[in-house]
């Protein structure tokens, strides 16, 4: 399930530009979300902190063990320790999530800014391009891309980035358009500022302020999509320790080895959920100020 990229769903973003209120209390939810993300980031950077087992080490005699004290999350069909694989999987999943979001945002910024500040014809063209890309919703665009370029972790990352770009571009464009007609931009004209100055100093900083929130939400979404592609066999493939790939491998043994399915999935939900929760709470803060 991915987040909608329409500005309708995020009314706080496509309306008046906002300013964060300083000093608002941090909520429990935010602390938990940041904590989870920090732990996962730690697992991605220094997995050795959490486990010393080699995620790729095969041990056929120990295959299909249910969770026990030696293997907290059990072992898979080749006897590999699921806990170690899950911890190591944080790296690929988080990396793909961040990279895909970066690619998507970069594309979205180009398209969105062109449409936002460009003249009518340019805006029209960019909007049409967006519409066309939108006609292939979600994974469909990613799949087409993969059909052309071939499967793999890199292509999956780029594919997710390309799929998310039109949605963000639309939001960025409408933000810029909204800010362009805002009263404080006109006030700058009355003060005698040049159009370029107003663009640099007032329009872009205000219109692009939500980008950070969008990107945070986007990372959550990208993690889900990327693991979906791996699950379908188009991204990372076993024996790589990536959550989606692990679930794909575990699919065949679902009736007798539930731990292969449950644990990596929980981590996907944790990672994506924490990113989304953080993003939504940041969004709520800026929206609070408007009320």
């Amino acid at each position: 399930m991915s987040l909608p990229e329409t500005d309708l769903a995020q009314p706080g973003l496509a309306s008046r530009p906002t300013a964060t209120r300083p000093g608002a209390r941090v909520t429990v939810g935010e602390v938990v979300a940041i904590g989870v993300l920090a732990l996962l980031a730690l697992a991605a950077i220094v997995p050795g902190l959490f486990t010393s087992v080699d995620p790729l080490a095969i041990s056929p005699t120990e295959a299909f063990q249910s969770p026990n004290t030696a293997h907290w999350f059990g072992t898979d069909e080749s006897g590999r320790d699921v806990f170690a694989r899950t911890i190591h999987g944080a790296r690929s999943s988080l990396l793909i999530g961040v990279a895909a979001t970066a690619i998507g945002m970069a594309l979205a910024l180009i398209l969105g800014v062109m449409g936002g500040i460009g003249a009518k014809p340019l805006d029209y063209t960019v909007t049409r391009v967006g519409e066309v890309l939108f006609a292939l919703p979600g994974l469909l665009l990613a799949l087409i891309f993969i059909a052309i370029v071939g499967p793999g972790m890199m292509t999956a990352t780029v594919a997710v980035g390309i799929s998310t770009a039109p949605g963000y571009a639309r939001i960025i464009r409408s933000q810029i358009r909204a800010v362009r007609t805002a009263p404080f931009v006109e006030a700058a004209t009355v003060l005698g500022r040049s159009r370029f100055f107003t663009l640099r100093r007032h329009i872009l900083p205000n219109a692009l302020a939500p980008i950070f929130v969008l990107a945070t939400l986007g990372v959550g979404q990208a993690i889900v999509w990327a693991s979906s592609l791996s699950y379908l066999g188009l991204g990372a493939v076993p024996p790589a320790a990536e959550w989606g790939a692990m679930l794909s491998a575990g699919r065949s043994y679902i009736s007798n080895a539930w731990w292969l399915t449950v644990f990596p999935g929980i981590f996907i939900v944790l990672a994506a959920g924490a990113a989304t929760a953080l993003g939504r709470s940041m969004q709520a803060r800026t929206r609070q100020v408007e009320r």
């Binding site: 300013a19 006109e186 009355v190 100055f197 205000n206």
Partner: protein, 542 residues
């Protein structure tokens, strides 16, 4: 005769034990049948909460207590929800401010009116429909059969409000609560709605009229109660309270009303600010002041959907003189703001020209105007949205002073100068405009407008969103600045009293055209044009 409404020592508190707000702090009054009591006060005075408590609708999180709270003999305090629901609509009706949002925008008004009938009577649908038509006729709604199928957004402001009134009187309640019923309306429509409410009162309904505007209630109310901070500070017959007010707050409120006050007369009791250190551009010359800005036959059309065209401004000509104020008055949709935008060079006219100090100003490419922009300043009704939301007051003013580059010591000194001249303390510098009060924000807007030492300031409804007492302070400030600095103002407002007080000359606009103009005293005391006469007649006065 027993009172229709009896309130003794009403107290309403919002919030939990840690953070409480005392909205109403011991209010007592009575209301007899066929009588109109006006609850008057500024925002936060508790007048709305008081009235809504009579229906058990004080709001979520409200704790209501009183020695007595009775409507038509029934004790509101002891009632459970079901009982409250049965008196709402049947014995008490509520009319809110803006019918555009006080009636469900998705439902036809006929349904909205029908609701009360459906909830409280057992009439058949056809009987109810007949009654709805009766009600619409009672509120003088033209073409009631067609109108009852329309939604509030499809009706004009006055017709919507009539529909809202119809829905409130459907069951002939003994008490009608009208909470700012005319604030969103044009002045001529306002007079009609007030007359309608007066007729209902004469027919026997008790009317509790809530307003921030003393002048509006003076024509309809028999008695007036003035509220401040949740308490009634003065109460009595209308003539008495308005003619000979006892309490200092009432006196200040009445003194703050600009209608009928001479030019230059102070409205507020604000102490004199540090005398302005801003330099005067040049001394005021002789009796014939210089004409700074001249507009000739400005015209502007707008394209609406489906190819329709709106002629917003139709051959408007006016002149702004140094050190003088030109008032521009008109109802909503008259084109005043479009004229202001053309004078500010924000909109290009379709025909006509504007000149600034004799040189062409509009239409002209922006780059040829830019270096003269320092001559013009502007302040608006909603000043908050005219500030970059990320900026603090310091940044707003520094940006205005330095033209966008980083501030230095000289800039900081200038900002201090500006803040002093508008009477703001240094402590506001680090705050964001969002966290200032309405009056403070307007002062920041004025300070920003003064930053470049302009000769002209265009003021578009600068005080319309402010409480009366704050409005008085801002108007006094503008007057003081004008005499100190020799500024020329274009003062735009729909409020005749304010325009009359502030202006030397006045232009009256209607449907894009100026129908009358001349010295303020002449236009208001003996208007020539029929429309001006109607406006002046409809304007509420004490």
């Amino acid at each position: 005769m027993s009172a229709v409404v009896s309130v003794k020592d009403l107290r309403v508190v919002f919030g939990s034990s840690s953070r409480q707000v005392q909205a109403v702090d011991g209010v007592s009054f009575e209301l007899a049948a066929g009588e109109c009591l006006a609850l008057v006060g500024e925002s936060g005075s508790g007048k709305s909460v008081t009235a809504r408590s009579l229906m058990g609708l004080a709001g979520a999180g409200a704790t209501v207590s009183a020695d007595a709270l009775r409507v038509n003999g029934q004790d509101i305090l002891g009632m459970r929800q079901a009982q409250l629901r049965s008196i709402r609509g049947r014995e008490v009706g509520l009319i809110l401010q803006d019918a555009l949002v006080s009636l469900d925008p998705l439902r036809p008004i006929g349904r909205e009116i029908d609701d009360s009938l459906r909830l409280h009577t057992s009439l058949t649908p056809s009987a109810r429909r007949a009654r709805v038509l009766e009600l619409l006729e009672a509120v003088q709604m033209p073409e009631p059969e067609q109108r009852m199928l329309q939604r509030s957004g499809e009706l004009s402001g006055g017709l919507r409000q009539r529909a809202l009134i119809a829905s409130a009187i459907a069951l002939n309640p003994a008490l009608l609560i009208a909470d700012e019923p005319t604030t969103a309306l044009d002045v001529t429509i306002q007079a009609q709605i007030l007359a309608l409410l007066g007729e209902l009162k004469d027919a026997g309904t008790s009317l509790l009229l809530i307003s921030h505007d003393l002048a509006v209630v003076s024509g309809t109310a028999d008695r007036v109660a003035v509220l401040q901070d949740g308490r009634i500070v003065e109460e009595g017959a209308t003539d008495q309270v308005l003619g000979a007010p006892q309490h200092p707050y009432t006196q200040a409120l009445i003194a703050a009303i600009p209608s009928g006050r001479a030019r230059g007369e102070r409205l507020s009791a604000e102490p004199v600010r540090k005398s302005s250190t801003l330099s005067r551009p040049e001394p005021i010359a002789s009796a014939t002041p210089e004409i700074l800005m001249r507009a000739s036959d400005l015209t502007k059309r707008f394209q609406l959907r489906h190819g329709e065209e709106l002629l917003a401004v139709d051959a408007v000509s006016l002149e702004l003189e140094a050190g003088r104020t030109l008032g521009l008055v008109g109802e909503s949709g008259s084109g005043k703001t479009t004229v202001a935008r053309m004078l500010l060079g924000l909109t290009t006219p379709d025909a006509g020209t504007a000149t600034l100090l004799g040189q062409p100003w509009n239409p002209l490419p922006e780059r040829e105007r830019r270096n003269r922009r320092a001559l013009l300043g502007a302040i608006y009704q909603d000043s908050l949205s005219s500030f970059d939301p990320r900026f603090t007051v310091e940044q707003v003013l520094t940006d205005a002073v330095t033209g966008g580059s980083r501030g230095n010591a000289a800039a900081r000194a200038r900002v201090t100068e500006l803040l002093d001249s508008v009477g703001l303390p240094s402590s506001v510098r680090t705050r964001r405009p969002l966290h200032l009060s309405g009056g403070q924000r307007q002062r920041v807007a004025i300070a920003r407008a003064l930053a470049a030492s302009p000769k002209i300031i265009i003021c578009d409804e600068p005080v319309s969103a402010l409480d009366v007492s704050v409005q008085a302070q801002v108007l006094d400030l503008l007057t003081d600045l004008q005499s100190e600095l020799g500024l020329s103002y274009l003062f735009i407002s729909h409020d005749l009293g304010v325009v009359q007080h502030m202006s030397d000359a006045v232009a009256v606009m209607r449907d894009g055209r100026i129908v009358e103009h001349g010295p303020a005293t002449e236009v208001f005391d003996s208007p020539d044009h029929e429309y001006t006469q109607r406006l002046v007649a409809a304007a509420p006065r004490l």
